[in-house]
């Protein structure tokens, strides 16, 4: 019970920090994101600094995690254990990139942007949730090459003891 409560509180805190960081960094602004992708036009390099700061801190966290036998509020780490670069990965990333280029919004800013209470974020996020649900609940026999795993394992995060 207490463990669950701690986990939930940690998730809430991490979420707040994540959303605040997105707001501070400029990632919530679709025009800036598209400016970053516009390397042949009016390129805006600022998002490279966002990524640099984020990967740096995240890497420090990862290095520390390797020295801890288990996370503070959980018995084991839940990390993706798939190593193979396969077609679903590349196809999915390609589709995501196209959507990212059209709208200038990725999932984090889409959800954080709901706080601003303006229609475009709700349209985008509503469509995004539809896409997620369609993928997660699509009858598997209709898409045999794309869905190879049962839903119970559909999550990217799987238990890996190190």
């Amino acid at each position: 019970m207490t463990k669950d409560r701690s986990q939930n509180f940690a998730a809430l805190a991490a979420g707040v920090l994540f959303g605040f960081g997105l707001s501070l960094s400029g990632m919530l602004d679709p025009a800036r994101v598209r400016g970053f992708l516009d390397i042949f036009g009016r390129f805006d390099p600022s998002l490279a600094f966002v990524l640099a700061g984020a990967v740096l801190m995240s890497h420090i966290g990862y290095v520390v995690s390797r020295r801890l036998r288990h996370p503070l509020f959980e018995e084991t780490y839940h990390l993706p254990k798939k190593r193979k670069i396969d077609w679903p990965l590349l196809t999915g990333a390609a589709i995501f990139g196209a959507g990212w280029g059209i709208g200038g919004i990725c999932p984090g800013p889409a959800l954080a942007g709901l706080a601003l209470g303006i229609l475009p974020f709700y349209v985008f996020t509503g469509a995004m949730v539809t896409g997620v649900l369609l993928h997660d609940h699509w009858p598997k026999h209709l898409l045999p090459t794309l869905k190879r795993k049962p839903t119970s394992e559909g999550s990217a995060a799987e238990s890996l003891s190190r």
Binding site: G21, L28, A31, F40, G92, A112, A115, S155
Partner: protein, 136 residues
């Protein structure tokens, strides 16, 4: 201009710190598309933890507003139909590709995951091509 870069770097560092905390405390990857997918599930993985994360994520900009007295500046270049199409592609694509800018970008690159590096390279390339085509 350098100040804008510094602000971007600081904001990015907070995003990275959030990912580090989620890994060190809950042992999980702070990948937003995965957290959203699990949060939408009614059984199995649909733990309240995911909903708490999403709730926090939405509270982030509100905290920014409380601290700075204004929302972060936002400019949309895409109409509502375009955003609907984009949102759908982002939702479906990130699930099929097992991650987005946070899971593959922030967390995956930090772990030197080959899968994440391939994914990031792929979505950067198609994103750049899409913008190049649409902006001309």
């Amino acid at each position: 201009m350098p100040q804008a870069y510094l602000q971007s770097f600081l904001g990015g560092s907070l995003i990275g710190l959030a990912s580090a905390l989620y890994l060190l405390l809950d042992g999980r990857i702070a990948g937003i598309s995965g957290i959203l997918s699990e949060g939408l599930q009614t059984q199995g993985n649909g733990q309240p933890r995911n909903l708490f994360f999403l709730l926090g994520l939405i509270f982030g900009p509100i905290l920014y507003r409380l601290g700075f007295g204004a929302w972060p500046s936002i400019h949309f270049e895409t109409g509502l139909w375009g955003l609907a199409l984009a949102g759908f592609l982002v939702g479906f694509g990130t699930r099929l590709g097992s991650g987005c800018t946070s899971g593959h970008g922030v967390c995956g690159l930090a772990r030197f995951s080959p899968r994440s590096m391939a994914a990031v390279l792929t979505f950067l390339i198609t994103g750049i091509i899409t913008v190049a085509v649409l902006k001309r």
